[in-house]
């Protein structure tokens, strides 16, 4: 039994879907694009592919090496694929949750959140440095359990393809109770929101049940404000890729104690400046349109 690479197969569908989304938005459907933002997102996606070509082989080799120590010998047959798919989505939940709560992993994942837009191109805004933050370790328990490496990678690819299609404002809420089970465009819009109540919520990949089980689910109520706490002021892909790593290096150099160093490297994002998601939520209050006293533009 052999497995194709779902992401590579889906690239033409990605391109067609983005084109259709652009036309739909231009025709009046909800959503927004900005051509330079789209360019940055696509450049990040391309760089992610190049990084996978450069380092993916060694990661897969390490998974095969680990497979010799697996606890069980799970057969490479079709009926195991659904089990592997659910198990892989479970590990994705924990990877994703960690990627938001531990700065070392956030330094790679922040790239995906660095657009102030939420459209299909945002889905492709992916990290170039996942290998550096060792994101693949979250899949290793599946190898240890005995799932075949090829099957794990296939399921991970399917997961990513599914997630591409939920990065859109074109779709409202899904019918037939699907919002209870699946991660949907609505649930994932919340995940990309910087509204205080939306920060660090809805980590699920395909299934939202993990968030419901582990207390990280928030429904979409008010319109999300997309992006990150300190939105980037550049479209430069190199800066997008490296900015949080540079921030980590700067804070590590400035650390005045071992505890400060650990916080800079592995603390929650924003811990060094006191702007964690928890502290932002605590400081938030219901938004009231401000009273402004000075007229402008300047007279």
């Amino acid at each position: 039994m052999t497995f194709p690479d779902p992401v590579q197969l889906a690239i033409p569908a990605f391109i067609i879907a983005m084109m259709l989304e652009m036309f739909a938005i231009r025709a009046g459907v909800k959503g927004q694009y900005e051509w330079r933002d789209t360019g940055t997102s696509l450049a990040m996606g391309f760089g992610n592919t190049v990084a996978a070509i450069l380092v993916g082989g060694s990661i897969v080799a390490s998974m095969h090496w680990l497979a010799q120590f697996s606890l069980f010998e799970i057969p490479l047959v079709w009926w195991v694929v659904p089990l592997c798919f659910v198990a892989e989505d479970f590990t994705y939940y924990w990877f994703h949750r960690t990627a938001h709560r531990v700065r070392w992993f956030w330094a790679s994942h922040i790239i995906h959140h660095s657009s102030q837009h939420y459209n299909l191109s945002t889905a492709l805004r992916q990290t170039w440095t996942g290998w550096l933050s060792l994101s693949f370790i979250f899949r290793l328990p599946l190898v240890v359990l005995g799932f075949p490496v090829e099957m794990i990678l296939f399921c991970a690819g399917l997961n990513l393809v599914y997630q591409f299609f939920i990065h859109t404002e074109v779709v409202g809420k899904l019918p037939f109770g699907l919002e209870h089970i699946l991660n949907t465009p609505s649930h994932h819009r919340v995940h990309h929101g910087t509204n205080p109540q939306y920060l660090d919520q809805n980590y699920g990949g395909v299934f939202i049940i993990w968030d419901r089980l582990f207390g990280t689910f928030t429904p979409e109520i008010e319109p999300p404000r997309y992006g990150i706490i300190h939105n980037l002021a550049t479209f430069n892909p190199l800066w997008v890729a490296a900015h949080e790593w540079i921030g980590i290096a700067r804070d590590a150099v400035r650390a005045r104690s071992p505890a400060g160093l650990v916080t800079a490297l592995f603390g929650p994002p924003g811990a060094v400046t006191g702007e964690t998601s928890d502290s932002i939520r605590a400081a938030a209050r219901p938004f009231v349109p401000p009273i402004v006293s000075a007229a402008s533009p300047a007279e």
Partner: protein, 121 residues
């Protein structure tokens, strides 16, 4: 596959441009700038704002004395609290350089308000 991807990227960027997704954000009023600052910074209670003549940037003051810079970025805005920012007044133009790496310097033409805003930074 790489060449196909590159062709797809160029096509999509070109399509986005051709379909007119190239709006530039403008701060049409002090209220707009204040609302941007208040929604971007939790707990920021805006009460005064001054928008640059080019409508691309603004300064917003909160009741607690903090001052935020709001500047356009594509069709969106970015907001930063001004902490330890270098400021320089040239006529009626206020030049700001934040200590944050990668954040471009800003120049706000604020008319007769420039000196007053410079003094509070």
């Amino acid at each position: 596959m790489i060449w196909t991807s590159l062709l797809g990227i160029v096509t999509l960027i070109g399509l986005a441009w051709a379909l007119g997704f190239r709006a530039k954000a403008r701060l049409v009023s002090a209220e707009t700038a204040a609302a941007e600052a208040s929604s971007a910074i939790p707990g920021f209670d805006a009460y005064e704002a001054a928008v640059s003549d080019d409508t691309r940037a603004a300064l917003v003051a909160a009741r607690d004395g903090r001052v935020a810079l709001v500047r356009s970025f594509g069709d969106r805005f970015v907001v930063r609290l001004l902490r330890n920012a270098e400021s320089r007044l040239e006529g009626e133009t206020l030049h700001l350089r934040l200590l944050e790496p990668g954040f471009p310097p800003a120049a706000l033409s604020l008319g007769h308000q420039a000196a007053r805003w410079a003094a509070r930074l």
